[in-house]
């Protein structure tokens, strides 16, 4: 067992993900369930192990309980190692300072000691809010070939959407000449995926300089990358053309789930050569009753379906009773949709019960937007949760009092 690693991955998993509203009330964004049996963090963690990176630091800060419990000792991802493996890195008190992570760069800065323990040549920086399958080894290979100081994975986005991303301008060798964070008039369509490979020594010197700069926001996109570009360091783009999706909003999370549907899904997860690994609970296989109608959907273990499920993704332990309909929706774990209830164009968080003849959302053609129904709630019988709302405990109490007529 060699007590050195060529590459260490650092996964930024401390974000709150406030645009996911109720879904991240109690858990950090990387712990948000996805695709029936996964959580968002399964994607970067599986990518790491599938790319041969067996040393991963997961930086946690916001609501870490569920995330810490989920990662555990890393065994589901084969990351329970004697040397290396997965380590959760919460903010800590040091002799001279005690601080929360103030920005992405500061979070890595505070954990330079962890990285140094493995004496790596390269540090991969990842974020915990994207759904994608990517071989980081190819990117590291390109980084070496270019003799780069930093390589940034880029994804070609439509010009109209480019102003939502960090946009790279490159020369013909993919060397980055310009970087603009969320530019109003984007000069290219190469958007940063939030995946960086750094040569360790360069990274450390820029992190230290950035930490000393009081005006800095301690952010990779806003500070570190521009500083490196200004100093004329070798920054390269690495073009990625597979599936990649930022699931930072309810709409994009819903869309990414829908990308699992169909006979040729946009996001194929059945490829055994690039498995997405996850922590599994012991659920029996799912049961489909005689009265069930299921079309274009993804269903996992522990579900019992007696009603109608169309264009939907169901997590473990969901029960759809006879006469109930679930359409164009993402239903998280252990939700029960009782007899003759309807869920349309919605995301329903875990452990919620939708009672008899209640309705949630409106059909995709008529709805103002996606309905988000919080977890652990009970929608009383006959109550309607309207379309395009974010419905938590308070709103549900109001709706119930009015008998659902809004």
């Amino acid at each position: 067992m060699m007590t050195k690693k060529e590459t260490v991955a650092m996964l930024l998993a401390g974000g709150q993900g406030s645009r996911l509203y109720l879904l991240t009330e109690r858990i950090a964004k990387p712990a948000v369930p996805f695709g029936g049996k996964y959580r968002i963090i399964d994607f970067p963690l599986s990518n790491c192990i599938n790319s041969g990176i067996d040393t991963v630091g997961v930086l946690t800060q916001y609501q870490p309980l569920a995330l810490n419990g989920y990662i555990g000792n890393g065994q589901p991802w084969d990351l329970d190692r004697t040397f290396g493996g997965v380590t959760t890195l919460p903010p800590y008190q040091a002799q001279k300072r005690a601080d929360w992570y103030k920005g992405t760069a500061n979070a890595i800065y505070q954990n330079m000691q962890f990285i140094d323990k493995f004496d790596p040549e390269y540090v991969v920086i990842l974020s915990g809010d994207h759904i994608y399958k990517m071989d980081y080894a190819e990117m590291i290979e390109a980084h070496k070939k270019n003799d780069a100081d930093c390589t940034i994975a880029v994804f070609d986005v439509p010009l109209a959407e480019a102003s939502r991303f960090g946009i790279m301008t490159t020369d013909e060798n993919l060397r980055i000449t310009e970087f603009a964070e969320k530019p109003k008039e984007p000069k290219s369509t190469k958007a940063s995926m939030g995946v960086y490979v750094f040569s360790k020594d360069k990274l450390f010197s820029y992190l230290e300089a950035d930490e000393a700069d009081e005006n800095s926001e301690k952010d990779f996109g806003k500070n570190i990358i521009p500083a490196m570009l200004n100093a004329g360091e070798r920054l390269f783009a690495f073009e990625f053309s597979g599936y990649w999706k930022d699931v930072g909003t309810i709409d994009s999370l819903w869309e990414a789930n829908m990308d699992l549907l169909g006979s040729r899904p946009a996001l194929p997860l059945k490829d055994r050569s690039w498995r997405i690994l996850s922590r599994n609970e012991a659920h029996p296989p799912h049961f489909v009753g005689s009265s069930a109608v299921i079309s274009n959907s993804v269903i996992t273990e522990g579900c019992e379906i007696y009603g109608t499920v169309i264009n939907s993704v169901l997590s473990a332990g969901v029960v759809v009773e006879k006469g109930a309909t679930v359409r164009d929706s993402v239903i998280l774990g252990n939700v029960t949709v009782k007899a003759d209830a309807t869920v349309d164009y919605s995301v329903v968080d875990s452990d919620t019960v939708i009672s008899k003849e209640a309705t949630v959302g409106k059909s995709i053609a008529e709805a103002k937007g996606i309905t988000l129904l919080g977890g652990g709630l009970t929608v009383p019988a006959g109550v309607s949760v309207p379309d395009g709302v974010i419905c938590g405990k308070e709103m549900l109490a109001e709706l119930s009092a009015k008998g659902g007529n809004v």
Partner: protein, 376 residues
Amino acid sequence: MNAVGIIFSSINEKSIYELTKQRTMASVPFGCRYRLIDFALSNMVNSGVTHVGIVTHYNYQSLMDHIGSGKDWDLARRHGGIKILPPYITAFANSSNLLYSTRLEALISIRDFISGCKEELVVLSDCDTVCNIDLSAMIDQHIATNADITLGVKSSYVSQDSSRTLMIVRSDEEGKVTEVGEYEGLKNGFEDVCVRIMVVGRKYLEELIADAIARGYTSFTKDILVRNCKFHNIRTFKFDGYFATVRSLSDYFRCSMDLLDPDIRRSIFSVEHRPVFTKVRNSAPASYVTGAIVRNSLIADGCVIEGTVENSILFRGVKVGKNTHIKNSIIMQDTITGENVYLNCVITDKNVVIRDGRVLSGHETKPFFIDKDMHV
């Protein structure tokens, strides 16, 4: 829990040779995503029995592959955990080189393991039985009644026909066993049938083994239970959940189809705090393509369904092609069916390929079985 578990992985293999040709009884696939040993192992860990020896015989490679480190049952432990006990053969030619063929001979071959244990009690379990039983209650009763042996029994309807393969136990009103045996000329009716799980004191078991060696005994039932029930304190523990023994391919078919009954399914899989564990395979969830029709079936993760599935059990990674109709069938892991296939009362073993347009049918009393890796 002050008990060590012993699981017999190969008992009664010959009764279901189609499925055990290339594997042990313990690793026979069952119920979409399980293997038979998962039920015995889960019963043990859910009752706090966390030191388990698995007695092996021939062909235990598939079993070792399934068990791995024992992690999936939380049995990868520094203290206790899973121990695979390979067949015991010495380098010297003598009588102990004969591979065991009965339960008692198997126990004789692992007597070093038994005497090396520190636990006071031993739980013995076969793995051709499917049930979710609270062994800790059984152990508590064993201690409270100061029993030498406690046999798990379930009151079941026994016909003359089915009695051949069952072990019927009769006891007095206090639960003390009076008769054990496979009765000839039995009338149809309810009898207590042994669920092939028993609790026995470890020291007492060691004595029984030493005695068996001295006297050349070979059968646990005939030589120990039948002989001793008058002189020793042998008790029954009544179990009232679902229990099935898999003793033939038609048994296997019927027990599998039993899982489609919601009450039976709940009595195995939905007992509070007592889940059934199995090896994790990380299959993606099952996909239903537009046009799929599925009724009264159990479907595992990793399946892709484009056709029609009725009253069937689909294991992980099964693909059902367009216009294909599968009914009353058990389709094991990674079987692929093409288009316009019709299957009725068929059992396919793992990795079977059924090409476009094939029509295959058996009967529930004689299901049509297709061997592992076959192409039809």
